[in-house]
Amino acid sequence: MSLKEKLISSFIALENKGSVDLDSNIHNIRTKAIEVFEQKGFPTKKDEEWKYTSLKSILKHNYSVFPSSENSVEVNDIKKYFIQGIESYKIVFIDGVYSSFLSETTHDGFDICLLSSAIKKTKHKIVTDYYFNTLANKNDSITALNTAFTTEGTYIHIPKNVMVPKPIQLMYFYTGKENEVMLQPRNLIIVGENSHVQIVERHQCLTKKATVLTNAVTEIFAHKRAIVDWYKIQNDTENASLIDSTFVEQRENSIVSVNTYSFGGKLTRNNLEFHQKGEHIVSNLNGISVLNKKQHVDHHTLVNHIEPNCESHELYKGIYNNASTGVFNGKVIVKKEAQKTNAYQQNNSILIGDKAAVNAKPQLEIFADDVKCSHGCTIGQLDESALFYMQQRGIPKAEAKALLLFAFANDVVEKIKIPELKTTITKLIADKLGVELGFNL
């Protein structure tokens, strides 16, 4: 039985459980979603959007779709994955199941809780029914698969005029107790007018051996003048793969930044979409990839400029060692009505490994005539003359290389607004480059 067949029969079993309310909105959404997946199946390289990323190797596993629940972990085993030295809200999942013991949620003034309970409770149901799955791409089979299967995830609802006092950490751990598992978490985030929130998201397998495929979907709604800073830390173990689809809808004067740090995992695919529905919106998309061995990371971004006077700033940097490969596909659409748009896109890669490769594809579709749009794309190697210069000043070659690479990635690191997170990311980059930091920038 192929994974697709297995998933479809598992779905039938899931929805036939006595507990499922067959008249509910969510049941209808799920049924429609599985139809899309059944019809389209997993994307292949024949699909234009998947030309450079093959899922073949990660789909051959016999994933268990509903991992056994109630696995526990020691706090000491997971502590290091949280950002150190800051107060934060935490919502922690172990093998797809919420851990109240490890979490710190709230309903005091705003809601940070489980999506499953938000969908059930009358108080939240009005909100979830209004927003859930309205933004996610319904025709995308991978997203539809998540919609059909998701049972758990994070629900954050910040009403008007709230400055959330500390960052929220969304942590999805996988214990590896079963050898091959597929997880499909789902996040729904609504940020009200004038509100501000910072969110850190991480998917982490706790053993090197286990094969895990995470298919995560996040919908973010930012209302007027809202500010949302989202940080994705992707530093998973070598047999863990992640398909992350994040959809952002912004209303006027809102500022949303999504920052993606891809250092780990076997295969990582990021689908990131911004839809600007209002004027004077700012969308920021930043990314750093540092890869080695045969790792593969694919960044697919879309910025949809629908209304006039908006901005988007996109900056992705990649460092590719050994035989690692990367994809950057940045699509910017400027609709006819979206005059005075400022859209900037920059994608720079350094190839260090002889077998490393990057496929970069900027796609600009501009239908308005009074706009400023630019894109720049470079793929290069380390500057040998700069290396010699630094060596001449007494800096050993390995450290000189690291210093140059840090300097290369630094303008993206500098965009991190949580100092402790900046330290975390800097350390992760140093680890990945195999250097001890004897310097700071």
Partner: protein, 247 residues
């Protein structure tokens, strides 16, 4: 201190240096002059250990030890400093942090502790004042957007910080106006003492009015064709390089 013996070196099979012999003692200033393409910059790169060039014959000996198999950073730790003709720009690394890293790497190689921040700051202030540097350059990315003259001044600032045993100034005068030239030359002269040595590589005699050499060597076609005292520089200025081509 430095002994260059029958040095042959080239790039991709093409010979550039064709048998250089040169001895430099502590406390001396040597000028190496010559027309474009005579091998001046190749010589400085080879002494500093640039791996782009291949040494095919001969030896470079610093303090009775061959440098040929020694990595560029180790040569730097042993006191070799090259002021580059074209200093590179390194975006994202500030001048201050760069020099701090360089100094601490040298100290590490010498088995010393890192220089405390307070002392580092004092040293930076002292040396940047000596070179009349605008301090705002120190917090900017190394050489990024600096004018030619600012880059050269920054090179000598780094030299002042690192206090090398053997300093090679490769075309340091190019890009400097006369005021900056005086400041830079003054900086070099103040660093000069009986235990170190300086090699000044230049096309023109102008810089040698301010950094007065003990010896002048004329390099042509990969060989030193004439050596003499400082008066040789004046002679060259007067007669031009065509004169040596016929020597």
């Amino acid at each position: 201190m430095l002994e260059i013996k029958n040095l042959h070196a080239g790039i991709e099979g093409k010979d550039i240096l064709k048998g250089i012999n040169l001895t430099i003692n502590a406390g001396e200033v040597h000028a190496i002059m010559g027309p474009n393409g005579s091998g001046k910059s190749t010589l400085s790169s080879v002494i500093a250990g640039n791996e782009t060039y291949e040494v095919t014959k001969g030896d470079i000996i610093l303090d009775n030890e061959s440098l040929l198999e020694v990595a560029p950073e180790t040569r730097a730790h042993k006191g070799v400093f090259l002021s580059f003709q074209y200093p590179v720009e390194i975006p994202g690394v500030t001048t201050t942090n760069f020099i701090k890293t360089a100094i601490n790497e040298k100290r590490k190689a010498q088995g010393l502790e890192e220089l405390p921040a307070k002392d580092m700051l004092k040293l930076i202030r002292e040396k940047s004042t000596l070179l009349e540097m605008d301090r705002k350059f120190l917090s900017r990315s190394l050489n990024e957007g600096f004018s030619g003259g600012e880059k050269k001044r920054n090179e000598i600032f780094q030299m002042a910080m690192l206090e090398p045993k053997l300093a090679i100034l490769d075309e340091t005068d190019s890009g400097l106006d006369i005021d900056a030239l005086k400041i830079v030359a003054n900086g070099v002269n103040k660093l000069k003492n009986k235990d170190n040595a300086v090699i000044v590589i230049t096309h023109y005699q102008r810089l040698l009015e301010y950094i007065v050499p003990d010896y002048v060597h004329v390099l042509y076609n990969g060989k030193i064709v004439k050596s003499g005292g400082k008066e040789l520089a004046f002679e060259l200025e007067e007669k031009g390089y065509d004169w040596i081509k016929n020597l």
